[in-house]
Amino acid sequence: MKVVIIDYGAGNTRSVQLTLERIGIHARLTDEADEIRAADKVIFPGVGHARSAMDVLRDKKLDTLIPSLRQPVLGICLGMQLLCTQSEEGDTPCLGIFDEQVKLFPASGKVPHMGWNTATASDAALFPAGWYYFVHSYYVPLSSYTVLGCDYITGFAAAIHRDNFYGVQFHPEKSGKTGEVLLTNFLKL
């Protein structure tokens, strides 16, 4: 199985790669359109600011490539948020696969939402409910796309799914055994 991690300078790619190696998968880091298109599974990670991330995706012409992919694609953290229509972070237009607005957490609690929190499943067959490690200041609202929900200041989507696109707000590569199970499930799709 060919697994690629989209390389666009968005941090934490090494952690994702090392975690996949622990579960027996060697994933290539790449920004090459042909290699991404030919992969069986695509992982779209991300840490940082939505606007600068979208700028890099546009420079590399990945902003048109990613929505055209037909194999399973997993967005992680900022990667999930970039799959939505728009982010309040820098009022950034994103990739538009999920018709959702990414919002900043209200100031009534500590932001970022950082640490381990429980995600509850509305589609348990896909991704397991359990404890996951989160670090984020912006969130995707609950909707019909939600497959895992979480609660911090407000209810929000911990995982989303539409067609061949999947997104997780938490970091499965840093979420212990539960995260490894989730990644294994994704790779079996």
């Binding site: 941090g11 952690s15 090392l18 840490v47 640490g115 381990w116 429980t118 404890w131 490690y133 212990g176």
Partner: protein, 254 residues
Amino acid sequence: MLAKRIIPCLDIRDGRTVKGINFENIRDAGDAVELARIYALQGADELVLLDITATHEKRKTLYELVGRVAAEVNIPFTVGGGISTVEDVGMLLSNGADKISVNSAAVRNKKLIAGIADKYGSQCVVLAIDARQEEGRWIVYLNGGRVHTGIDLYDWAREAEQLGAGEILFTSMDHDGTRDGFALDALRHLSEHVRIPVIASGGAGRMVHFRDVFTHGIADAALAASVFHFGQISIPNLKDYLSSQNISIRPQLK
């Protein structure tokens, strides 16, 4: 519900842990990778690796160690000790660290926190502050407690938050090593003073101290070293106890 975090801290010298370790079934008690792996299995929520040699010549050893920990450990870990440039941070993150912690260098160079946060994001910047109470004020110390600054703990914490720090790791020098409990009042005040998470350090001796630091101290996380390394408190027992005290923790996977 967001869990309170339990964070063992490993002191590292030349790629090896320095404090004595008292665990059964451990293959090499001085091997930081082995110890990190065991703590992760026991249910630690994060790890901190503190490089106490922190000399320039030894950096390569540290980078290699970070790479090996990242390959073995499936929970977040922070690396601190001797970080003074954005380039240092880049090397640690690219070897697999999730966060870095800065201390003295961030006081001496106010551009450091902002430089790291701009390039890598606030989520990876932990500001470590060592402070001691003097005539009713908490005063920041540098260089492992050797250099008095006259700077107020709460002022510096808030300034660092504005510069882009993502978390504050506060060690009370008055409590560190006493095993008499954490600096609860100062922690509570600090936690109310900033809007980023606060990690409590210094004074852990008994399980009740961890309960108190989360209830009275309203800390988001608690860090300790020797009580874990010497086996006085085991993380699974601590988590069972905190659960029984109605504190939100992440249970160990059975």
